[in-house]
Symmetry: D2
Subunit: 147 residues, 4 copies
């Protein structure tokens, strides 16, 4: 979902996740290892939203562009539970020559649950070889950058 | 597994993971979101190894001690595949009053695949309330600390 | 989602799943073990839809009703991929004294991908003891039964 | 692991799984959707054991043989917990011209937790096309058949 805004600021993207029983551990909160998984789901949804429905699967198979992760970092602020939807805000923070840094902030009922940063590199998928960010992607990403 | 060493250095702990077909994505490497999951499996195995088989499940239910994660950070150096076992070295780096920092380094065939750091806090499990690291745990952990 | 129908037939319930890169294995189709997971997500969504948003988590914790599985059976007809949404139709087939049988049929782009049947029993959650289906649930479920 | 037996009966194969905190749901037992996942891990381990370490990954990529699932059926007898190792016995029940049926029985501390049957078909992996069971596989599988 993108909320319309005036031209001064890029629209906000949030991916909604229905956290359920099966995501929770015996402490009755989402198991820690599910949280980076959710964050990756949200980043994939960000690609789908901005590139005509193309997520990692289509990027790799149809466009020969891969974006493997080289780094992730997460701070867990508050437990994630099935009591509220998990709203994952995603935005690109930095677009390097051949890399991209994303922020993913997960909130439930307005409370920040986790804040993460993720760095991916652009590769020629079938060669698993680094490449500069393709021009078509760069043009769409650049105006979405935020700090 | 702990390799015996002279008293000068704590023994090395490695947790072996059999990476399989179901862990891999269409790029034929382990899916990124599986890697923090593997690292957590390794930390749980570290607890089991040093505390008479008690992992997070027994710590929480039998001893009322929880160790939820407040931070994780991973650098991905090389893809993980089913071609070799994934050897996850785990050791505590820092033991604070009520927190513990772990290093988890995942290697395949001698190649560093990922390096991670994870911070957990000690809580009274049924109250979900912070507590100092229990003395019994502290005594076992302290000599295992490495930088 | 429920499509409105005349009173002669219960409304149809479908749960939509966004299959992604991370669900797929190196054959570029959803990994087999993901499919019963998706089916369970769909059954949980069926409960949420018909019981004011209460899924397994709320049933167990707020109402002390558990519905553990005693049987599942799936036939896989066609591969599941990220190319289309996975539409999982769920309906109760049989309501016994203390058990319920669900059908879950997963389709993509109109093609049947898998057909499954799942049997759950009703239990008093905190006692893990069998109980008859609670009257409130029975009243809602009975009119939804189909063959 | 294979227990040696006299020639009259094929050796027994069991795959050991360390069930942990992260496998459990708020009812403090392994989440239902983890159980077919464990069973598949066990079948993959059965292939690895009998074919020089080659599981599904190597069969597909190195030998161009795929064995997708067309059916699974499981009866859940008793909850799976982290209190004991989960011992998954695997054996082939039937070898058809181009299909194979496996039994997977999961036990903890001698108690039967689940009994499952799984049917796979042999395919030419890169063509996703049915093929008769390759002769090399057939020769190894045939003497392992049990009812």
């Amino acid at each position: 979902m993108t909320n319309p805004t005036d031209g001064a600021m890029p629209a906000r993207f949030e991916h909604k996740i229905n956290v359920t029983w099966g995501d929770c551990d015996p402490a009755r909160i989402a198991y820690t290892a599910r949280l980076p998984w959710f964050a990756l789901d949200a980043i994939n949804a960000w690609w789908e939203h901005h590139f005509d429905g193309d997520g990692w699967f289509q990027m790799e198979l149809d466009h020969n562009v891969g974006t493997p992760f080289v780094h992730m970092s997460l701070d867990f602020r508050s437990p994630v539970t099935p009591r509220h939807k998990l709203m994952c805000e995603v935005y690109p923070m930095k677009l390097g020559n051949s890399s991209i840094r994303f922020a993913v902030n997960g909130r439930q009922d307005g409370v920040m649950c986790f804040e993460g940063q993720f760095v991916c590199v652009f590769i020629i998928a079938d060669a698993f070889k680094s490449q500069p960010a393709p021009q078509r992607l760069r043009q769409i990403i650049a105006p979405l950058l935020r700090v």
